[in-house]
């Protein structure tokens, strides 16, 4: 095949759908996935192909259809290839984790379908070992095919809490409790809105049935206020709607406060490829929408390459329907987290560097309105391994809550540099020099 190459990043439904659509139009497509197998967060397959995890039938069927289509297509699949960013001359950097090397590509277009970013609101003690994210625990569980052992507490807000709890119960270790911050209960209005996207209702009903059987239905209006180490375990203080506090002693805490689109690695200079984002990476609407959005992303690429894409209103209609369903679903949850102004000084904000809210507060106490850049450099917020990907939102919102004037943007703390994730030096040194003499 000749002609322009298109690179698709992310082997979830959006990436696979985009790659298939492009291949059908005769484009030379390479699909890169950082993990050992395709699937993404939702269809993640165990690393060991002989293992399996329990997933809803609808998910299983959808993934089987995608896998079959992929096997019959011209899409080239590169697993264990991580997208590391776009460098100054416009080259796309991929860390090839099979061979431990860095490779560059210069595609005509790049589809970023890397999925959403999981959001966790700071709470005292969230940096302790044993505190994980709900999504992180789910990855571990789907990769190994086993439930995490010990007593696990799930807390925060969002449909993912119930999904993880049910999957753990199916694998033989139900969580000790599921604490949902939002007190709102499912109303008829929400159910009515979801009738147009019945897959959600079927999925939720399946999870809830599992939780009824294991006796771990979510407790609504309850949140975690602090986590502290105790006797080699974690003592978790939780507060209910009436303000009553109690303590739970557990081995692990899984936190989750919603999902955010992922804009990492998408800024590029004048030299870079044409970029589109697709799926939860662009707008968090779930797996069904991701399939449609992958096709829309592919069509945008085809239009850019001067190819007329077949007129098809299907994907756009699916997106509209899923957007409505997600909006209805989101009314049931409370992603606000605790007001940072109410958190104690010792609360760690930047977990990479162990920087606390008190240290951030002291930087703001002066009359001088220090900039986000100064807070970042001198306070070392956003300077650690994650480069602010997980703390920038909280630093920015806390600064905004403490003073008047233009609120700082998380983007001033995260920046737009590559690599988008840490890359081993051993991989860099394999890059062949472009100019032999220096």
């Amino acid at each position: 095949m000749s002609g322009p190459e298109v690179l698709v990043i992310g082997g979830g439904p959006a990436g696979v759908s985009a790659a298939l659509e492009l291949a059908r139009a005769g484009i030379d497509v390479t699909l890169c996935e950082q993990g050992p197998r395709l699937g993404g967060a939702i269809h993640r397959q165990p690393d060991d192909p002989t293992q399996s995890v329990h997933v809803p039938q609808s998910h299983k069927r959808r993934w089987q259809a995608l896998s079959d289509a992929l096997a019959g297509s011209t899409v080239k699949v590169l697993c264990r290839h991580m997208f590391a960013g776009i460098e100054a001359t416009g080259a796309v950097l991929l860390e090839d984790r099979i061979h431990g090397r860095l490779v560059t590509r210069r595609p005509a277009a790049l589809v970023l379908a890397m999925g959403a970013i999981e959001r966790v609101a700071p709470v005292p003690g969230w940096q302790l070992p044993g505190v994980v994210t709900v999504g992180g625990l789910q990855v571990m569980m789907k990769s190994t095919g086993r439930a995490p052992d010990g007593d696990v507490l799930i807390a925060g807000s969002g449909p993912l809490l119930v999904a993880l709890a049910a999957q753990m119960a199916s694998l033989g270790n139900a969580p000790v409790a599921v604490l949902e911050r939002s007190p709102r209960l499912v109303s008829l209005r929400v159910v009515a809105s979801l009738l147009r996207a019945p897959a959600y209702l079927r999925e939720a009903a399946g999870y809830l049935l599992t939780l009824v059987r294991s006796g771990t239905l979510p407790q609504r209006g309850v949140c975690v206020t602090a986590i502290a180490p105790k006797d080699g375990r974690l003592s978790v203080t939780v507060r209910d709607r009436a303000g009553r506090e109690r303590r739970l002693l557990v081995d692990r805490v899984a936190l989750h406060d919603g999902l955010l689109p992922n804009s990492n690695g998408t800024t590029t200079g004048q030299h870079g490829p044409f970029i589109v984002r697709a799926g939860d990476c662009r707008e968090v609407l779930g797996g069904t929408a991701a399939l449609a959005d992958g096709r829309l992303g592919a069509q945008a690429v085809l239009a850019h390459l001067g190819q007329t894409a077949p007129a098809n209103k299907g994907p756009a209609a699916i997106m509209a329907r899923e957007r409505q369903a997600q909006a209805a679903l989101n009314t049931l949850f409370d992603y606000s987290g605790r007001d940072p102004a109410q958190l104690p000084d010792e609360t760690v904000i930047c977990r990479c560097e162990g920087r606390t809210l008190g240290q951030l507060r002291s930087m703001l106490s002066a009359d001088d309105p220090v900039s986000a850049r100064e807070i970042k450099l001198n306070g070392r917020f956003g300077m650690g391994s994650c480069q602010g990907r997980f703390c920038a939102e909280w630093v920015a919102s806390f600064v905004a809550s403490q003073r008047n004037g233009t609120p700082p943007q998380p983007s001033e703390i995260v920046g737009s540099r590559w690599p988008v994730k840490p890359v081993p030096i051993s991989a860099f040194v394999t890059l062949p020099p472009s100019s032999p003499s220096e």
Binding site: A88, T89, S371, G384, S385, R417
Partner: protein, 382 residues
């Protein structure tokens, strides 16, 4: 007193001028340390200097950092330590020995390390290293931390995001600054504007951007060999010395320094490139630097790169900073063009600017930096 530019030179000058009784306001297009100061490697070092006025000033500037620590102006922003210049072949060794002799002639303490002493002191050096010169009595300072300390000490005002576009003057004296937020009165002006100086000077080609790219790693594990201080490759000195006089500088050169930071991370740099695309680092330069770094210290291969960044140095036509007056106004001074030496020279230059502006005899001979050598005049636009 208006100081234009909130980099290390401007902030230091504001500090000393305010202590000398001036009411000082610092103006910056961006924020504190948003230019070269915020993206520098922080070497307070004479190790790579050639003999001449810059080496003499750098030696004095290192002592000035010690003075600032002793007098409490700086607390822990300056970390004293040696620099190790490493030779890996006979050609580099010959250059290293000559260079060490030149540094000793300038009263810099040097210890030559070879054989068992070399491996004992620098466990992290590759077996291919045959010798190293330990340049003693110098150190490291993070530019933005020095600027932040001076800001915290206060005594002067800072106007961020306030671009100065020109001046109002009467009878050959500046009376005010024209800013994007209106005109501000000023009795005297110091331009410490780095690469932004081009805007104010009639000779637009006098100061050119020289890009540098730097790499930050994650923290080293417990098994990483010992780095007693930054390791500098002698190859840089070899290429520096081999250029015939008057030759056009190459558009890109790499001078490898592996700097162990206090956080346990490493800063690996840097390039010198005649270009001005500041906000971007390219994989080719980064990979070339990392190849050199791993050749000098193989254990680095196990670390990961978490950040790469680029900055622009302000380089003058003759490679020497410019400190002095700008003709066209009696009360206008400039201190710019420090290229890669701003963090080393900055605090002392702030003090020297204060002495120059107050009419005091300067503590160091800065006649070699005098702006008169270029006959500076104010740009008509300013």
């Amino acid at each position: 007193m208006a100081v234009v530019g909130a980099g290390i030179v401007g902030m230091s000058a504001a500090h000393f001028l305010s202590r000398a009784g001036w009411q000082v306001t610092v103006y910056d297009t961006g924020v504190v340390a948003s230019g070269a100061t915020g993206s520098a490697d922080g070497a307070v070092s004479v190790a790579s200097k050639k003999p001449g006025p810059l080496m003499t000033l750098a030696v004095a500037a290192v002592k000035f950092y010690e003075h600032l620590i002793a007098t409490g102006v700086l607390v822990d922003e300056y970390l004293p330590r040696s620099t190790f210049v490493v030779a890996s072949d006979q050609e580099e060794l010959a250059v290293l020995e000559r260079h060490a002799g030149e540094l000793e002639a300038a009263d810099v303490a040097i210890r030559m390390l070879k054989g068992a002493a070399l491996t004992q002191v620098i466990g992290a050096a590759a077996p291919s290293a045959i010798a190293a010169a330990e340049v003693q009595g110098e150190g490291h300072a993070v530019g933005y931390r020095v600027a932040e300390r001076l800001r915290q000490l206060g005594g002067f005002a800072i106007r961020r995001n306030c671009r100065v576009s020109g001046f109002e003057s009467t009878n050959g004296r500046i009376t005010g600054l024209v800013t994007e937020h209106g005109t501000e009165p000023a009795d005297a002006v110091l331009l410490a504007t780095g690469i932004g100086s081009t805007h104010f000077l009639a000779d637009a080609g006098l100061i050119r951007p020289r890009k540098g790219q730097l790499i930050v790693t994650d923290r080293a594990g417990a098994d990483t060999p010992h780095f007693p201080g930054p390791l500098m490759s002698c190859r840089y000195l070899v290429s520096k010395g081999s250029q015939p006089a008057g030759a056009v500088a190459p558009s890109r050169s790499l001078g490898l320094v592996i700097d162990p930071l206090r956080t346990g991370q490493f800063l690996i740099g840097g390039s010198r490139e005649d270009r001005d695309d500041r906000e971007s680092a390219d994989a080719d330069v980064v990979a070339a630097l990392l190849r050199d770094a791993v050749a000098l210290s193989p254990s680095l291969a196990q670390l990961r790169v978490i950040r790469v960044f680029a900055g622009l140095r302000a380089a003058t036509r003759d490679g020497m900073p410019i400190v002095g007056r700008v003709s066209g106004a009696d009360n206008l001074w400039i201190a710019t063009g420090f290229e890669g030496d701003g963090i080393c020279l900055g605090p002392m230059m702030g003090r020297l600017c204060q002495q120059m502006i107050c009419g005091e005899p300067p503590a160091q001979d800065i006649s070699a930096l005098d702006s008169a050598r270029f006959g500076l005049t104010l740009a008509t636009a300013a």
